[in-house]
Subunit: 413 residues, 2 copies
């Protein structure tokens, strides 16, 4: 009998995972280290142990489960994340975790022991929703986070990442023991939903990711003067919200017209103080996210945005200050792994396209310590980070099959 990924088991896993953070409107909220996220982690860890994996949890809560190989060699790692944005879906991240888990079970069914160990990792806090910084787990695993940073990052309630980790039962003080280097990992593969419209448009079930765009992010504070909305003539106002509105439209214009063809830029949050009907807004805080797969196009956009902020401040008599939250470099993925994935896809008669990723992923950090490959499956309507996020199980099964065969191939190297 030939054992392959079982759709029934995958469907059961998705249904069970849906217990954690599901909303009445059909969406999911499993924000990093929330009770819902922690409960989902507990469930996953049990599933991993049931599949015979040797599980360890590191300083930032990354769950790593290893299946031993014939030899004590650096493993092939498979990973993604279970956390979601607020009011997101059940596919972003989960697809990669549940498919990796299923691959372990298939190998168990086959009683197949690969030459190299295979490790499944659930990265913590991939989404930046809570701490304003994305891929915290894979940053920690690749030595890009230190104790000082854990103590300086805060969520909107003022909790530091460090305290959040402590309260979640982890040991952030051990951060320096949680990182891997090049000699510890043979390769890394991540299966993920596309979160964009390309695969659906091209009616193609598989995207092989050639490069990953990276964000530059700003937290911006615009200070004007709160005034009575009835008795302050238009010409005498210092309205922080009209300044912010010029910035929002300017950011859109820079991404659309002035930067590169792939540049995207977004103001995702914007908070107004005091934020009541009869007061001219005195203060606005907002976040800008600028992404590109081309470093020079991104830098062009970043420069234009900072110049715009200076212009608006001068023109409107506002004080605009900003803090660069991150300034990541776009990442090209391994050509060796790409060749391997192409070979396996062809062997399986799967149609695929090569494509860049506009979104950041844990794979991006892993690329700094090992050879990385990434597989996309279609997002219906191109929609993600939304309660309507959906990917078809038949597509997920195709992606899982590709991941399985590619994993085995790499694990036998």
């Amino acid at each position: 009998m030939y054992f392959c990924c079982r759709r029934d088991r995958l469907e059961k896993d998705f249904a069970e995972l849906a217990q954690f953070g599901s909303l009445e409107n059909g969406g999911f909220t499993r924000v990093a280290y929330s009770l819902e996220d922690l409960a989902a982690r507990g469930w996953l860890q049990e599933k991993m142990e049931d599949a015979g994996l040797q599980v360890v949890v590191d300083a930032v809560g990354n769950i790593r489960g290893q299946r031993p190989g014939q030899e004590d060699l650096p493993p092939v790692m498979l990973g993604s994340h279970l956390d979601t944005v607020p009011e997101g879906g059940n596919y972003d991240g989960s697809v990669g975790i549940l498919a990796a888990l299923e691959i372990i079970r298939v190998l168990n069914d086959r009683e197949q022991v690969t030459k190299r160990p295979i490790e499944v990792v659930n990265f913590s806090a991939e989404e930046s929703s809570r701490f304003g910084v994305a891929t915290i787990g894979s940053k920690a695993l690749t030595g890009k986070l230190d104790l000082k940073t854990l103590k300086s990052l805060t969520d909107s309630d003022g909790f530091t990442l460090y305290d959040t980790l402590r309260e979640s039962g982890y040991h952030p003080e051990n951060i320096q023991y949680s990182s891997l280097s090049r000699e510890n990992v043979h390769a890394f593969l991540e299966l993920h939903i596309e979160q964009g419209p390309v695969l659906e448009e091209k009616e193609c079930p598989i995207g092989l990711v050639s490069s990953i765009a990276a964000p530059t992010r700003f937290n911006v504070v615009i200070s004007g003067r709160s005034d009575h909305s009835g008795n302050t003539p238009m010409a005498m106002r210092k309205d922080a919200l009209v300044g912010a509105s010029e910035l929002v439209l300017g950011v859109e214009n820079i991404a659309t017209e002035a930067a590169g063809k792939d540049t995207v830029a977004t103001v995702g949050y914007l908070k107004v103080s005091p934020g009541v009907m009869n007061v001219v807004p005195g203060r606005v805080e907002l976040g800008i996210d600028i992404r590109d797969i081309s470093c020079s196009d991104k830098n062009k956009a970043v420069k234009a945005v900072t110049e715009l902020m200076t212009q608006i401040a001068a023109k409107r008599g506002l004080d605009i200050s900003w803090k660069k939250l991150c300034d990541d470099t776009p990442v090209e993925l391994s050509k060796r792994i790409m060749t391997s994935l192409e070979t396996v896809a062809k062997q399986n008669n799967m149609s695929f396209i090569k494509m860049p990723s506009g979104a950041g992923h844990d794979a991006m950090n892993m690329a700094s310590i090992t050879d990385v490959g990434m597989i996309f499956v279609p997002s219906v309507g191109g929609v993600s980070h939304n309660i309507k996020e959906y990917s078809r199980m038949e597509d997920i099964c195709i992606g899982a099959k590709l991941l399985l065969d590619a994993t085995v191939r790499l694990a036998e190297e």
Copy 2:
């Protein structure tokens, strides 16, 4: 001995009132029916009773204290409010209440019984910060509020005004017994800070208000689509926040360029959902406040704003819906009272100007049932609805003296 308003007593009152809702940053937050507002009311009621007033509290919490006259005639009423916007000051409203209280004490010192009774009223919820509607107390007292409205108005936490009143210990079910009509009131006077820059600019301690601008207000909901901020090309977005930003700038432009010379328009609150760094905003809710002393100029602005909303929705593929929260008519104040105030000011050698009020006041509602006069004292820097709101005690004393003499004059009619 000649008894007049005593600066020391007024200063003591301001200092005592400052206990309620004072903030570390120097500002005050006594939002309508908050614990701080209720505590301030308790303090005021005691002060009024100490001054010998016969106090009643009506269905919406208006505190009315009467000083009997020689005859059982309709009283001269003096009133304003103690509630503040969030992070406001200690002068907006309070000046009128504390001066009225001081006038009662001066008449007590003089053992002077006027022909007509004099009534001091602290109106509830003058600020619209909590329920999106202003001058709730004076609307109730002049028969402009019914039970249905009390039950339909909600604050940002979803509490209805009705439930809030019940929890504050009032009896909103008696709203129909709380209104006065023309035969119940002889005249109404309100002393208030200008909340604008005009008196300071003209170095004039007194403004006599000729007319009061009125607001038209909208709550607007803009619905687009939440998408991943990295993988959604600019051209495929339905970003509710960029639509909202066009509206904010358009509202500013309409007030500045397209409507009348006195038109002011403000977007005071704006809430973004889901409001995180890595998601294109799918929904924005915002409030628009448009004011003018000319009805036709205001209507021109209102029409331009609604047309703009329709245009933005069509252009950006967004759904924009709005609810008109209020559409008040600008009010011309009594010429008879104006003449009386001018006469008294001249007798006292006070310099004054006649001016319109851009802000709404309780006096506006009172004008529907009686002859109304309104006195402004300067706001330093023109600043109000702000923690830096400040009015000088010497100016407040001049205003209180004018209020005293005008009150006595009207109470002897």
